[in-house]
């Protein structure tokens, strides 16, 4: 190495040119060291288990004896010979299709009302948010079971008007609806996200529109909603995935059974029964992969169609 060479190379380039182990140590090691806990978790608790779960889904496995290869048996049984699988799929899809849009509609409606510069905005916002914070609790599921019981709060109110209500939770026609109502009751957190989104819309757009004589109704459809679509999209995805994963309320309200007549047999509840009630771990793994496929399909579909309805400003 000539003196001239050393002299002409700026010191910073010298550091960057250091190669091999020293470079790895200086540039890459800190990042990987900071990520170490996450890496252990990612490989040990997420990726590894995913692979093993995929393998198990092609096996019979009762936890006590070694897994036995079953080929496609689990999947065949699911799609051809398992009425409880189809029942749980129906219940879950019904729940998702009704609870998510209704919850989002409530969230958006209340957010629009609050966004008109109402006095007491923060108080209303907090009150409406409270159920979202408490709602996942077992205590709320217990309360719900009581409210919609034959002698529950709802029927007390109906009796004021001379209506004799059924026992909502033990009637298969209504039991799932009590859970949908519970989900809608927790509209607070998407509402807060909608409020944050509404605040991003520039006020001068509305001023310009009303100068042009656009009605409030027209302003909503032509300005508010299009500009809010990214938030709608975000909320819809999050809420749908949450709805697919919902477990505790159905478990508590039906006492872990999914009854009456499987009307509250959420997919997650059925999976739990198969895995930890009957110890059919292979079958339960197959159920989990079908759930993953369903969620992945939904997410992919949403993202692919989003460019046709979600408005992004460049």
């Amino acid at each position: 190495m000539s003196i001239q060479n050393v002299a002409s190379a700026p010191p910073s380039a010298e550091v960057e040119k250091v190669s091999g182990w020293r470079r790895i140590w200086q540039q890459d090691a800190p990042g990987y060291l900071f990520l170490l806990p996450w890496f252990i978790g990612f490989f040990g608790l997420t990726l590894g288990p995913m692979i093993y779960s995929f393998y198990l889904s092609f096996n019979h496995f009762d936890l006590l004896t070694a897994p036995r290869w079953a080929g496609l048996d689990n999947y065949m049984r699911m799609f051809t010979n398992d009425p409880k699988f189809s029942a749980s799929m129906r219940v879950t899809l019904f729940f998702v299709v009704f609870s998510v849009p209704l919850k989002l509609a409530f969230a958006l409606g209340v957010a629009l009302l609050l966004n008109r510069g109402m006095k007491g905005l923060t108080i209303y916002r907090s009150l409406f948010y409270l159920p979202s914070l408490l709602g996942a609790s077992v205590a709320i599921a217990i309360l719900w079971r009581q409210i919609f019981a034959g002698d529950g709060l709802v029927n007390k109110f109906l009796s004021i008007f001379g209506i004799v209500g059924p026992s909502w939770i033990s009637n298969p026609n209504y039991s799932l609806w009590t859970l949908i109502v519970l989900s809608i009751w927790q509209f607070g957190s998407p509402m807060i996200i909608f409020l944050a989104g509404l605040r991003q819309i520039p006020q001068d757009m509305y001023e310009a529109a009303s100068l042009d004589g656009a009605s409030k109704w027209r302003q909503f459809w032509k300005i508010t909603l299009p500009l809010l679509t990214p938030v709608v999209f975000f909320n819809a995805i999050i809420q749908t995935i949450e709805a697919f994963k919902s477990f505790t309320p159905a478990f508590i309200i039906s006492g872990g059974t999914g009854n009456p007549i499987n009307s509250t047999l959420f997919y997650t509840l059925y999976l739990y029964q198969e895995a930890f009630g009957f110890f059919r771990m292979g079958y339960a793994s197959a159920l989990a992969w079908v759930l993953l496929a369903l969620v992945a399909l939904f997410t992919a579909f949403s993202f692919l169609t989003s460019k046709y309805w979600v408005h992004y400003d460049d």
Partner: protein
């Protein structure tokens, strides 16, 4: 005299004052009605826990005919194991989870938002993908793993994943916040010879207390509320959390002691409600800035 009509023609769409007031009154009426409807069940449960047992199923009002805290004593010792054990267990699990989550997630978030290393983008993308993953897919192998390790019937399966930053949501939350902290601060510290650890510990963490607090509170609440994890991993009553205790209460008492059940339900919500009262602004801002679940 012709002043008012003139004005109307000039600014044709300006709504008259009386209409504005009317819509305001109607909006408030709607919102107050909705608030009452939403909070009524909660208040009713609170009232039910204080009223005489025979009145619980006959009254829809919010004021008990006579007040009594008997139900709280009955409920507290209503099961073979007292609720003091369940509350202690829940607190231990929740507090350990908070420590684990705040520490592990902030480490990961610091790496993702501040450090340069090869593969960062790929790992970050993978981390985001785990956000969408239904936990059922890893549930059974995790159970097999923890069973092999002899961790079933201990708190470890509920707590250790938190120390491994398993809840990617909080990493994401913190990355968003860290990105808002000016990079000049790190660069200045680096000039002074500070390494990544010192920048993390002395600069990032002290400047990030709002997001760390938000993560801590949400971790506490979600761990406190968690039912599925304890249901699977804790089988001995002496290990039960409050949520498992409540569930056992509904199973074992059937219809006999609703007063006690409601009293314990109310108590189980108290820690969450206190967090809500004290930190509601932080929680609401946390949700608003990231957009999120539950």
């Amino acid at each position: 005299m012709t002043d008012a009509p003139m004005k109307l023609t000039v600014v044709g769409v300006e709504t008259p004052k009386w209409r504005k007031q009317l819509t305001s009154v109607v909006s408030h009426a709607l919102l107050i009605g909705a608030s009452i409807l939403m909070l009524y069940p909660l208040l009713w449960m609170l009232a039910a826990s204080f009223r005489p047992e025979n009145e619980i199923f006959t009254s829809a009002s919010l004021i008990p005919s006579s007040w009594s805290i008997d139900a709280y004593f009955r409920g507290w010792n209503g099961l073979r194991t007292s609720f003091s054990v369940f509350f202690t267990n829940s607190f231990i699990i929740s507090i350990l989870s908070v420590i684990g989550n705040v520490f592990a997630c902030s480490l990961a978030a610091f790496a993702f938002s501040r450090l340069e290393f090869r593969g960062r983008k790929i790992w970050f993308a993978l981390m985001l993908m785990t956000l969408m993953l239904p936990y059922q897919v890893t549930l059974i192998p995790q159970y097999v793993l923890f069973r092999q390790l002899g961790w079933v019937d201990t708190f470890l399966p509920l707590v250790v994943p938190k120390f491994l930053a398993a809840d990617a949501f909080f990493i994401f939350l913190m990355v968003q916040f860290f990105r808002g902290i000016p990079k000049e601060l790190d660069e200045a510290a680096m000039m002074d010879g500070a390494g990544p650890w010192r920048i993390y510990w002395k600069i990032m963490l002290p400047l990030s207390t709002p997001v760390l607090a938000t993560a801590a509170i949400f971790t506490f609440i979600w761990t406190w509320d968690d039912f599925f994890g304890p249901l699977i991993y804790l089988n001995k009553m002496s290990d039960y959390t409050v949520m498992l205790g409540l569930r056992t209460f509904t199973d074992s008492t059937g219809t006999s002691d609703y007063g006690g059940l409601f009293a314990m339900s109310v108590l189980s919500l108290v820690p969450i409600f206190l967090f809500f009262l004290i930190f509601q602004r932080l929680l609401i801002e946390g949700i608003a800035t990231t957009g999120m679940k539950r």
